[in-house]
């Protein structure tokens, strides 16, 4: 990979002023090992490798081996991390792969390829990419390569491709592809599944020789070796002797050729090979390693069987456990029967090959895509011009501070060589803006005034004290990473632009490596071990999302697993053993949500590609690999909040006739802050979680910066280190702001002396100890990494020394450092929070002023946020909005704000037709097409014109879509049968003339309902019936809250409604009822589990915390039931906000039900499903 715009090597070796550099690379002083493993599978041979890269490297180090190859199946999935880890451990990494060659046989033949150097690495990338993409096309996917790569290919993904992507192990490399990319590669004949191995096993020795000569023709006489593998099977010795014979014949042929080339004189012929090269047999001994230790073969067996969707023994029926990482002596003993010179050659050749493989990936160099620039300009000159132009737009008054900040950043960006990167991001963002696609930059890019001026971010770094060095530290020279969120519904337009602009052959998606957690590992092991689907479901249904490594501890500790079958150790002990070993094992390659790689040259020469399940082309590397390779990665992420905002803004602009930029609103709208303070935050970006709602009430935001604080404070770190309490107490004057150093007080004035933001760590270090901001950022990074006590002491001593040099006493300096150290690990990036806060404020403003329009848009962009559509609709009710059922003449497909009159804000939300269970897209289209002609006047007419299925028609009646036509639902349901029969008999060409809707409504008596009491509703259905239909068929409650029909029962329980809770004093004993909306059970710092429940009663949301002891007693109730009566103690104070601490949790069963079923069991009519 030649670098085109590479500037200088990354400063890995540079050490910060306090020795903060943590990039270390062990120097190899290992003794040269006589044998090197050249055929090794890691667990990146998805489902056919049980060895972790760390495990392999550790074993190689332990055995004194100085080099190691990793040759995973059909790709380089783990190659980059292997390369980095091996280098760090002082091992020479040999990167390779084991491919399947299309040798004419049904299954193809295995072949191992190793990269000698960067040319070889590029050959591997090209070969694998071409093979995977061609194979996909041969299997019937996509058109030409470009079509396949384009994003629109994703929408045309076929099931066939999904299967293909799931099984790249079935791909075969054509002989033509192999011949096209031989440079820099060494090939090994592979295992008995190789073309040569199979021929020898089957006694087809001539074919074996023919095949070997074919590979020699491709890779040269010293680029192809026969692999000797003794897997200690009954036929192994015969197999090996056949291979040894073949190697001897090949050597003879080579010698003959050398003689011919040299005119029979030997020595200096035309051949580039000398006699010495031909003296050794072209043999290597390998062990086809698939696991590190012998006992790990069980994990391997399980993976192979599960990968093939079969039970053990799986498809291979492997007869023994010999594919482990053997010692040199063990490898030698495998050749015990062979003549000494064969052993010598087979062992020594592994050493020769290892010596010949010297791949340097030049990590740390950058490879920017080409950005076209006018003649006479440079990337920097254009960036500078655009930045100054943007600054004029952003800043009405160009203060000296703004000018010097821009000059400072431009200088650093230029010196680090990142001008082109900024221009690429700007180009993409400009495109989105030009098309009206909402987008926003986020992350530490917000620390840059260049980003702000270029329109990438929307937070003024001068106004909010954001520091550039937090984003780009000149002492590190890491590739900048600017993440941009785009409107989800229009993201594809941006992606297509990228492909168009930079070339389809230079763009691919970034992969993710999906690893196994406990649930996944249980499924894999269970499948292989023949656990029935039903039993597996019992095992995994309520299993928490935890790592597989400590599954025994989890099973024992978690109350919701009390009846989990896995508690039967005698029965499932072996399964659990395997599960524990599958911890974090790569399961398959996924596609990153929005990561794109853009390369200066055809991407297939820089990274290996393959098809992803979605039909897009994806690299075999994840984002860390891509970053390590110095390639430009852009996160083109879809954010549904942008889509919801865009939809709302579209409606508002229609209403008002004026344009509205939601991201450029003045941040002084009292109604928006009042809304946040009232914690009615459902739908508000980053502010709607139960914790944030709680924090909103305590923090009482009054200005934009308070929203930034709120977003930053409600994070795991600040919560665990209890930064929130001093922040809140000091904010409300309940405690004095105390800092050990006056400069610290100044720097932390906006956060009351509490270090909330990472940027503040830099500012404090600069103010107290005189660090420049780059040094200060290195200090921050050092303090956020795991460091030994000695290292941290050394860093502290350096800080104290610098602070004392500026006049601090040792005690003060030490205290400042202690606080920095304590908070640095938890501080949040203020720029990131600021970028989010722009969206938070926009959503608050829209909800405060246009609730119907906003909440409809939130509903239309589900799934998003924390709450179900049902709860969002209930929230709409609390804003005084009416919720209307679907209507056959009024509903759109989506939720629709209904305006009382033209130009007025909406006062109701109409449920859309597409939410009806069973409604197909085609049916929807026909309904809207027909309605476009004229409205429907009767059910019979609707049924005839739209030809929807009978179940759809009946469901529409049940949810009230025909209520506005004046007939009762029962009458219409009775009519369906008659209309349907008439249609079957007469076709849909004319109106049913025997039955009219009104006639039917009069004549048809509702069957089976004659004993129902009269109902005072035009539909003729009781509230409970309507509610049940709504919940069953729409998943929503329109007529009333699900608890409403049970009011009498609930009243007898003497419960407190959520609306009254804020007025109750702290520590009140309280009893509430609620439907579970969300539950989270994180592990606290003290390794205890606490459940946080968000419940909903008729009047709003309730937050409940269940501590470990109560959780142990009632965990099963929480997981099995959906509606509870909870007794507990109310926390209602400024420090902690409003929360109920549960003491007792019971499922709610309506009175009068003796069957034990009720709301909790979800069997009561009119309740949401769990």
């Amino acid at each position: 990979m030649g670098s085109q715009t590479d500037q200088s090597p990354r400063s890995l070796g540079q050490v910060g002023p306090v020795g903060l550099n943590d990039h270390t690379e062990a120097t190899s002083d290992r003794v040269r090992s006589e044998f090197i493993h050249l055929h090794v599978h890691s667990n990146f041979s998805f489902m056919d490798g049980a060895a972790s890269l760390d495990g392999l490297i550790e074993r190689a180090v332990e055995l004194g081996m100085d080099s190691l190859a990793v040759t995973d199946h059909q790709g380089l999935y783990g190659a980059i991390r292997f390369y980095q880890k091996a280098k760090k451990a002082g091992i020479k990494p040999i990167i390779g792969t084991e491919i399947i060659v299309d040798d004419g046989s049904e299954r193809g033949g295995h072949l191992v390829l190793l990269a000698r150097n960067r040319t070889g690495y590029a050959s591997l990338c090209r070969l694998l990419s071409e093979a995977h993409l061609d194979w996909g096309r041969r299997m019937g996917f996509g058109g030409d390569m470009e079509d396949g790569i384009k994003a629109k290919g994703s929408r045309a993904a076929s099931a066939k491709t999904a299967t293909l992507a799931a099984r790249p192990d079935t791909m075969k490399v054509s002989m033509d592809t192999l011949r096209r990319y031989p440079r820099g590669l060494i090939a090994l004949s592979s295992c008995p599944k190789g073309e040569i191995g199979r021929a020898v096993t089957e006694g087809r020795h001539e074919h074996a020789e023919e095949a070997a000569l074919r590979y020699i023709d491709i890779y040269g006489w010293n680029g192809f070796y026969i692999e000797l593998q003794n897997q200690r099977l009954p036929g192994s010795l015969s197999y090996m002797s056949g291979l040894i014979d073949l190697a001897k014949r090949l050597r003879e042929l080579h010698r003959e050729q050398l003689r011919e080339n040299s005119g029979g004189k030997g020595g200096s012929g035309r051949s580039r090979y000398n006699g010495k090269a031909a003296a050794a047999l072209p043999l290597v001994v390998t062990n086809n390693v698939h696991y590190v230790n012998r006992e790990d073969h069980k994990v391997h067996d399980v993976l192979v069987a599960a990968g093939d969707n079969t039970t053990l023994p799986g498809p291979v029926k492997r007869p023994n456990a010999e594919l482990y990482f053997k010692t040199v002596e063990q490898m030698r003993s495998l050749l015990a029967d062979a003549p000494a010179h064969v052993v010598k050659d087979a062992i020594e050749n592994t050493r020769r090959i290892a010596d010949a493989c010297n791949l340097d990936l030049h990590l740390g160099q950058f490879h920017f895509p080409k950005v076209p620039i006018p003649e006479g300009e440079t990337h920097y000159s254009i960036l500078a011009k655009e930045t100054w132009k943007g600054a004029e737009r952003r800043y009405k008054v160009m203060t000296p501070e703004v000018v010097s900040r821009i000059e400072h950043e431009l200088k650093l960006v230029d010196s680090m060589g990142f001008s082109a990167y900024f221009l690429i991001v700007k180009d993409i963002v400009d495109f989105a803006h030009s098309q009206g696609i909402f987008c926003s930059g986020r992350g530490s890019a917000g620390d840059s005034i260049i980003s702000y001026c270029l329109g990438i971010t929307s937070v003024d770094p001068i106004k909010y004290d954001l520091l550039f060095e937090r984003f780009l530290n000149p002492k590190r020279r890491d590739m900048p990473d600017i993440d941009v969120d785009f409107c989800s519904t229009r993201r594809d337009e941006v992606i297509e632009y990228i492909y168009r602009k930079y070339g389809a052959d230079k763009v691919a998606m970034v992969a993710t490596v999906n690893t196994m957690n406990a649930r996944g590992a249980i499924r894999v092991a269970g499948k292989a071990l023949g656990v029935t689907e039903e039993e597996m479901s019992r095992m995994t249904r309520r299993f928490p999302w935890v790592k597989a490594g400590n599954i025994r501890g989890v099973i024992a500790a978690y109350p919701e697993l009390a009846d989990n079958p896995l508690r039967d150790e005698a029965r499932y002990g072996a399964l659990i053993d395997v599960v524990e070993k599958l911890d974090r094992c790569p399961a398959h390659l996924g596609t990153h949500l929005g990561g794109f790689i853009i390369t200066p040259r055809p991407i297939a020469s820089m990274v290996p590609l393959q098809w992803a399940a979605k039909g897009t082309v994806v690299a075999q590397y994840d984002k860390d690999d891509i970053e390590a390779l110095g390639l430009v990665k852009m996160d083109i992420l879809g954010l549904r909040t942008h889509s919801a905002i865009a939809e709302t803004v579209g409606r508002i602009e229609k209403l008002t006739g004026k344009p509205l930029d939601p991201y450029d609103l003045p941040h002084d709208d009292e109604a928006s802050y009042e809304l946040i303070r009232s914690a009615r935050n459902i739908g508000l970006f980053q502010l709607e979680s139960s914790g944030q709602r709680n924090l909103s009430k305590r923090l009482l935001p009054e200005r934009f910066e308070d929203i930034i604080s709120s977003i930053s404070l409600f994070r795991p770190g600040p919560i665990e280190s209890d930064m929130i309490t001093p922040f809140i107490r000091r904010r409300h004057g309940l405690e004095r702001v105390v800092t050990p150093h006056p400069e610290m007080k100044r720097v932390l004035r906006d956060t009351y002396g509490v270090i909330v933001y990472q940027e503040q760590v830099l500012s404090v270090a600069a103010a107290v100890a005189g660090f420049d901001l780059s040094e200060a950022d290195m200090l921050r990074r050092a303090m956020t990494k795991d460091k030994s006590m000695e290292e941290m002491d050394r860093i502290g001593a350096h800080f104290v020394k610098r602070a004392m040099a500026r006049g601090s006493t040792e005690a003060v300096a030490s205290e400042v450092f202690r606080q920095l150290r304590g908070f640095a690990a938890y501080g949040f990036n203020k720029a990131h929070a600021g970028c989010f806060a722009v969206l938070s404020y926009a959503t608050a403003w829209l909800k405060a002023h246009y609730p119907a329009e906003f909440l409809s848009s939130i509903l239309n962009n589900q799934p998003m946020g924390f709450y179900s559509p049902r709860v969002v609709l209930n929230d709409a009710r609390h804003f005084g909005l009416k919720i209307l059922p679907p209507d056959i003449n009024e509903s759109s497909d989506d939720f629709l704000p209904i305006c009382p009159s033209a130009g007025k804000r909406g006062d109701a939300i109409r449920v859309g037709l597409k939410y009806l269970k069973g409604m197909s897209g085609a049916e929807l289209s026909r309904i809207f097409a027909e309605r476009g002609e004229r409205q429907f006047e009767s059910f019979a007419e609707f049924y005839r014109r739209t030809r929807v299925s009978r179940p759809t028609a009946e469901n529409l009646i049940r949810v009230g879509a025909f209520d506005s036509l004046g007939s009762s639902r029962d009458a219409l349901l009775s009519e369906v049968e008659a209309v349907h029969k008439w249609m079957m008999a007469h076709g849909a060409s004319r109106e049913p003339d025997l039955i009219s809707s009104s006639k039917a409504a009069v004549v048809a008596k509702p069957r089976g309902h004659s004993t129902r009491p009269p109902v005072d509703h035009p539909s003729g259905w009781s509230l409970t019936r309507r509610l049940k239909a709504e919940l069953d068929l729409l998943g929503l409650n329109i007529s009333c809250h699900p608890l409403y029909p049970h009011r009498e029962d609930i009243a007898s329980l003497r419960l407190t409604p959520s609306s009254q809770i804020p007025s109750l004093p702290d520590r009140s004993k309280i009893r509430v009822i609620g439907l579970r909306e969300r539950s989270q059970t994180p592990m606290t710092k003290s390794k205890k589990r606490t459940a946080f429940l968000t419940l909903e009663d008729e009047e709003g949301l309730l937050d409940v915390v269940v501590f470990e002891r109560t959780l142990a007693e009632y965990g099963a109730v929480i997981s099995r039931s959906r509606c509870y009566v909870i007794e507990g103690t109310l926390q209602n104070n400024e420090e902690r906000g409003i929360t109920i601490v549960a003491d007792r949790i019971e499922p709610f069963t309506p009175l009068g039900r003796s069957d034990g079923k009720g709301i909790a069991g979800n069997s009561s009519p009119g309740l949401p499903r769990g």
Binding site: L237, S241, L312, R318, P319, S333, P339
Partner: protein, 137 residues
């Protein structure tokens, strides 16, 4: 399992006893291996064909004498008769069915020559016992 036995089973060295020179050994051993009666002997171990004319499948416990100096089996006793092991000519390992205690197999097979006969003896790791697996004579 005794450490010396474990080491031996992990790292069995075959014997060049029959054929003193490397060249002669290789070709003759290969010929031997490819000879039908020996190949059949191999399959004997997986066969239940009691009527086989070239060999017989057994599963009978044997007693193995250990050569401390050579760190390898020296002889075995079967049905009261002692068989001196002249050479170990082939080995293989079967490690299967671990997921089911009823079908689990963990055995190391040694094909040995003794007094002109070829015997397959095996060490069952689960039972920590030696067995005679088959005889080809």
């Amino acid at each position: 399992m005794r450490p010396e036995l474990r080491r031996f089973l992990e790292n069995i060295q075959h014997d060049p006893v029959l054929f003193p020179t490397e060249k002669s050994k290789l070709s003759v051993v290969r010929q031997l291996m490819d000879t039908e009666w020996v190949s059949s002997a191999s399959s004997l171990c997986a066969s239940s064909d009691e009527d086989s004319v070239v060999g017989k499948l057994y599963h009978e416990p044997i007693e193995v004498r250990w050569d401390k100096a050579a760190k390898r089996p020296r002889a075995f006793r079967w049905r009261g008769r002692r068989y001196k092991i002249d050479a170990i000519i082939r080995t293989w390992v079967v490690e299967m069915g671990w997921w089911n205690p009823d079908t689990e197999v963990s055995k190391v097979f040694l094909r040995v020559t003794s007094g002109g006969g070829v015997y397959d003896i095996l060490y069952d790791k689960r039972e920590s016992r030696w067995y005679l697996g088959g005889v080809a004579d």
